[in-house]
Symmetry: C2
Subunit: 396 residues, 2 copies
Amino acid sequence: MNVAVMGYGTVGSGVVEIINKRDLGLDVKYILDLRDFPGDENASKFTKDFNDILTDDTVKIVIETMGGQTPAFDFVSKCLAAGKHVVTSNKELVAEKGLELITLAKENNVNFMFEASVGGGIPIIRPLTFCLKANNIRSINGILNGTTNFILTKMIRENMSFADALKIAQDNGYAEKDPTADVEGHDACRKICILSALAFGNHVYPKNVHCEGITKIALEDVAYAASIGASIKLIGTAEDRGNGQLYIVVSPAIVMAESQLSSVSDVFNAVLVNGDATDEVLFFGKGAGKLPTASAVVADALDCMEHDNNRRPIFWGPEKPELIMDYQEIPNKYYIRLKGADKDAICAAFAGATFLEGATDDIAFISNEVTENEARAKVSTISNAELCSLIRVARC
Amino acid sequence: MNVAVMGYGTVGSGVVEIINKRDLGLDVKYILDLRDFPGDENASKFTKDFNDILTDDTVKIVIETMGGQTPAFDFVSKCLAAGKHVVTSNKELVAEKGLELITLAKENNVNFMFEASVGGGIPIIRPLTFCLKANNIRSINGILNGTTNFILTKMIRENMSFADALKIAQDNGYAEKDPTADVEGHDACRKICILSALAFGNHVYPKNVHCEGITKIALEDVAYAASIGASIKLIGTAEDRGNGQLYIVVSPAIVMAESQLSSVSDVFNAVLVNGDATDEVLFFGKGAGKLPTASAVVADALDCMEHDNNRRPIFWGPEKPELIMDYQEIPNKYYIRLKGADKDAICAAFAGATFLEGATDDIAFISNEVTENEARAKVSTISNAELCSLIRVARC
């Protein structure tokens, strides 16, 4: 079956490489890219004109690996409307425009697939959609961004500052020159929005999700966490808190040693899905990279080929922002570090607090379940207390 | 869509419970069991006559959760031949009769699905078959049996003997009264045979796979392994060693601390798949239990419903026993413990051996890559050496 690949960057070139190498029944007919690739072995397939792809009825599957919303959204919409299946690795596109695109796919009886948009080569979209379908999903917690996990691993293992660890990540090609999307959590946020839509049935827009990156994590907090065998990870969480109310957030979180996420280090990703029948199921692997991500794209293309005349039921409904709870009003355990506070005063404000050992004069503790707003209010009652850190404890 | 459930044991009753509870488009029309279940809320659905199911054309999907080959093979064959989809959790049936049954399913254009036969509620069959399809699989290593993993965890963490740990497993309902199938590795062997067939394309019969259980593991070996942060796990391995030659074995193995399998404890299962595009991908969760396993069965039934008229391409070819290498002729690192041997003599026989710290007078070491036969021959050249233990080191 003929496919066209739009975007010949890291992932797109990996897709072409796998399709050319393996006898899978797929043939690359066009590669769309505005850049020139002199000497590339696929030279005869390049085009700069999207209409070559759109108007060629022999192209049944279009693979979008350009990234961003413009012109990806326009191109993908036109392909779906023209009755072509579309596969994408573009998490921004799915997180922002997924509802329109799955609706358009449904109307045109074609597939819109995006396994590679979350977790790179790790199977997660299809298992969550089909394998765990007999479950009501209770929660999803994931380490969804390899760059930040690499940086945090350096901070944890080598007591390195955020700035130094970021520099090493950039030198190793794990972080971009402008690392904002990774370190501020935007990339992880898009991914948890996609997973939440699949698990709970309604589109979730990144702008409605509280998203906090790792730039403010202090080495003191890393050390206090280590004193109880815990670590600080950037966790994307989507949790059903009952009555369909959702707690969706991306932020640093204290991960206890017994959590399946605690041993996920370096550039690896992992998604921990808690279902009412299966309990915890973990999916782990490389969350990025040329061939891992490309292999997920190609698997989607094969699924499109298998389901050329009978689209797969991947679907969710419009956003219900009223279901997304205010993250500051969700009861949770919190890690709190204070300067200048008296331990007895802390105990009076936070009954049942567990104090942590550390090398500084600060006092750090884990609270019982409180909302963030309650925690801040309690801190304000403690005389002379200066709040240095407040980090949620992951419930997984 | 009407389904019939054959076998109302742990898994079968869980399947009925999930289908009744969730609005999934499935209805249980018959439950086949020779036993009586007085007062059961599904009383009206029970039958003792298989022909009620076979001859009812409104039953499109038959779920087999009886276990064993007789009468399951006969019943399942007849259902497939009658044009009914069949879903099973029965690993013995799939490992021994899978080829006949997938062939029969293909001939009759129906689905034969068995996600629950490996890893209980953990999605693995479908991800391996579809999500990782763009990969050439290099190897699969799995902790595939929860009972033995529970026993080994007790031995490792509490320095408990095999016999004592088995007793606790039995008291907790994790091990059967006759624990042979678990502790001798037969259950894990069936599962690695199924995974190998899916990954490498040819049926593998358990009788052709070397299978060694955990009954002979000594606490000394657990302690020596712990001295380097390693642990002993029952590992099922199916590895492509090049030229299509397969190394398939179930046996205790030394798992190094950096392996993703090293932190898989208690009754949990995990399957580590190494693909040429994705590298290592891990699937982790509860490998057994009523609702986890039942949820995998129900997901298969939903897949059958989605693919009522277009069966999914799950298929492999006949056995090629000549591709399964003699496990004793495969180069591997080995953990070896000797009594009465001289360290210098060991170094002379095993160049590059890494010696382990331990509390006994024995000498334990990790060899460089040798075959088991070579290792035994080398040991025989060391004067006074008595071979106490020889355990492969997992390559994952």
